[in-house]
């Protein structure tokens, strides 16, 4: 990988982190409403994964979607504006935190019904296969989502039709307050892929370089016709499920233990140890990321609310 690419990935992770820290503040101030699910701790998963896609590859995910949106190339401005429900948001203020999307960047959305986007991913891949395009669909979802029927229907169909999908389970070890062992008959999600005869791989989701490498290999194999595969990214969310989670289901010590394993910290160390970047260079990138997020907040706050007539727009394509 080129040096610039490493640095771009590092900066992207910091942008995501700052953007979410700021959004948590804006939520406390009542400027963001509804549900806000933070991705803090999981940034290496989508950053490594999506950095390995080609622009024509499609990405679809669940409601924990801010990081994915940034990785897909949405600007911090349009993401922040959406969180504030502004007309300049990527979904025009109608979607909010859980429903970011930009189809021109092949980001097919955050989706709020657990597991519901998996069969849709099967369909995205079907569309590409049907028209003979060598695109790969990357579908991200949580560990909890592997217990709902949608997951099983989607994996099975993608396999019998040999569709180009990379299923990526972000195993952050909890679905809300329910630990994987309490909700899933098998604790390794890759076992579920094996049941459908699908190649699978467990990857350290706190290590962006490992994620990037695994994603490159799997995406290219799928592009060459290997059929669907499943990647299980082992990760952890540092914050509650969403804002206001009392977190009675896990001990603070457990959270602290994982926080020492911060994906951004790990990557920083890697970059320095391998002579890719100096501390000063990384600090400089931190400052740039900070400025981008501050600009995004200002942009979002200054942006107009949607016009009242917007309420009735986009119900149908044809009136």
């Amino acid at each position: 990988m080129e040096k610039d690419e490493y640095l771009r990935m590092y900066k992207e992770m910091v942008i995501i982190r700052r953007l979410e820290e700021r959004s948590a503040e804006l939520y406390q101030q009542g400027k963001i409403g509804g549900f806000l699910h933070l991705y803090i701790g999981q940034e290496a998963v989508s950053t490594g994964l999506i950095s390995a896609r080609k622009p024509q590859d499609r990405v679809i995910t669940a409601y924990r979607d801010h990081g994915v949106a940034i990785n897909c190339g949405l600007s911090a401005r349009e993401v922040m504006a959406e969180l504030l429900g502004k007309a300049t948001g990527c979904s025009k203020g109608k979607g909010g935190s859980m429903h970011l999307a930009d189809v021109t960047k092949n980001f097919w959305g955050g989706h709020a019904i657990v597991g519901a986007h998996l069969p849709i991913a099967t369909g995205l891949a079907l569309g590409d296969a049907y028209t003979g395009q060598k695109n790969v669909t990357i579908c991200m979802f949580g560990d909890g989502a592997t217990n709902i029927g949608y997951f099983h229907e989607a994996l099975n169909m993608s396999k019998i039709w040999n569709l180009p999908v990379l299923w990526v389970c972000e195993n952050n070890q909890y679905g809300m307050g329910t630990a994987v062992e309490r909700a899933s008959a098998v604790s390794e999600i890759i076992q579920k892929a094996q049941a459908y005869g699908m190649p699978s791989r467990r990857v350290d989701g706190m290590d962006v370089v490992a994620m990037r490498q695994a994603a490159e290999e799997m995406i290219e194999a799928i592009r060459e016709g290997a059929g669907p595969m499943l990647m299980e990214a082992m990760t952890y969310r540092f914050r509650g499920h969403s804002m206001g989670d009392p977190e009675r289901y896990r001990k603070p010590e457990e959270v602290h233990r994982y926080q020492e394993n911060d994906p951004i910290g790990i990557f920083r160390q890697y970059l320095q140890e391998n002579g890719i970047a100096t501390e000063e260079a990384l600090n400089q990138l931190d400052d740039e990321a900070e400025a981008i997020v501050e600009d995004a907040v200002q942009f979002a706050e200054a942006s107009p609310e949607p016009q009242p007539h917007e309420l009735f727009e986009h119900i149908y394509v044809e009136a």
């Binding site: 203020g93 109608k94 935190s97 909890g144 217990n147 709902i148 029927g149 329910t178 009735f312």
Partner: protein, 325 residues
């Protein structure tokens, strides 16, 4: 009488019924260790244990299906859907199984099943998480649908639902959990399938239920200052529908406004208005009005979302219209 919240009233009903009858148990997502996402079952897991307060995987059709099966064996499951929006993921089990088994097998199968689900908009949760699809469920014979608007009714109706031998969808409203009201002490039930007058008046009949009862009561207060006295009939149960108090009131006022949070098309208001026209046409002095949600999926943006939901002013205006009509 104690003044408690809707949340406490529902929680008490569950707790008391579980103490009373060991065949009653709860299952659903985050009902146990978490204590319920709306804190309704807080403390239950420690008291009743994991067998009777069962955390489930995220698997709505699995939850409702398993509840149906357990009910067929004589248990009294109270299945919690984290929100009513997820009932769509369990639609087959609710409408094709729960609502049909008793009838289709000639009365052999009995399902003492309660499905609790919270619905309603107004919290900026976006299009998929803000729905009030009550009318859809009330469409199916074989399923009973209850939706209380006060803490006292919630407690009494939930107790009746748990003791009933029919499958019942019990719909709560997310923005009513904090509402306080007088709730009788001790054991009491309120019959399922009985509407009731929540406010007496002589000029216009408002027919409503759930969250919109609160809105209608506020509108009534405002109108009262202008000398307009509305009578409010709270349906409480959408199926089986008790029209008696509605018709009795209407025959007195000859004018009606129906207020619901869900969409107007094919909704509760459509049903009630049609019934009034069918059963009390000679008493109609003005076209019946409906107040309901604008016909859009609810947006995230707060201002737009509020525009789409029925408000006190909408009810006030509708009442004025039927008086002038």
């Amino acid at each position: 009488m104690a003044r408690i919240t809707m949340r406490e009233a529902i929680s008490q009903a569950l707790w008391e019924e579980m103490e009373r009858d060991p065949s009653v148990f709860i299952l659903g997502e985050e009902v146990g260790v978490w204590g319920g996402t709306y804190a309704v079952t807080k403390g239950f897991y420690d008291h009743f244990g994991p067998e009777r307060v069962r955390d489930t995987p995220i698997a709505e059709s699995g939850i409702i299906g398993a509840a149906i099966g357990a009910a067929l064996t004589g248990l009294r499951p109270v299945a919690e859907l984290m929100t009513i929006n997820f009932a769509f993921s369990a639609m087959d089990h609710i409408v094709n199984q729960a609502a049909k088994l008793h009838y289709m097998f000639g009365g052999q199968m009995v399902l003492p099943l309660v499905i609790r689900a919270v619905g309603g908009g107004g919290r900026q949760l976006g299009a998929t998480h803000s729905q009030t699809p009550d009318a859809i469920f009330a469409h199916f014979p074989g399923l009973k649908v209850v939706a209380p608007g006060t803490p006292a009714d919630a407690k009494g109706l939930l107790k009746s639902a748990i003791r009933s031998n029919d499958p019942i969808l019990f719909i709560e409203h997310a923005t009513l959990y904090q509402m306080r009201g007088e709730v009788p002490e001790g054991d009491y039930t309120i019959p399922i399938g009985k509407s009731t007058v929540q406010r007496a008046g002589k000029d216009v009949t408002i027919v409503t239920y759930s969250k919109m009862l609160e809105i209608s009561l506020k509108a009534a207060e405002q109108l009262s200052k202008e000398g307009i006295e509305v009578e409010i009939v709270d349906l409480r149960t959408l199926r089986p529908l008790d029209m008696d108090p509605v018709l009795e009131s209407f025959k007195k006022t000859n004018r009606a406004v129906i207020v619901e949070e869900g969409w107007k098309s094919y909704g509760v208001g459509a049903e009630i208005a049609a019934r009034i026209y069918e059963e009390a046409f000679d008493y109609v002095d003005a076209p019946i009005r409906r107040v309901a949600q604008k016909e859009v999926p609810l947006p995230y943006n707060r201002t737009l979302e509020q525009m789409a939901l029925p408000k006190v002013e909408d009810v006030v205006q509708a009442v004025r219209e039927v008086l002038n009509g």
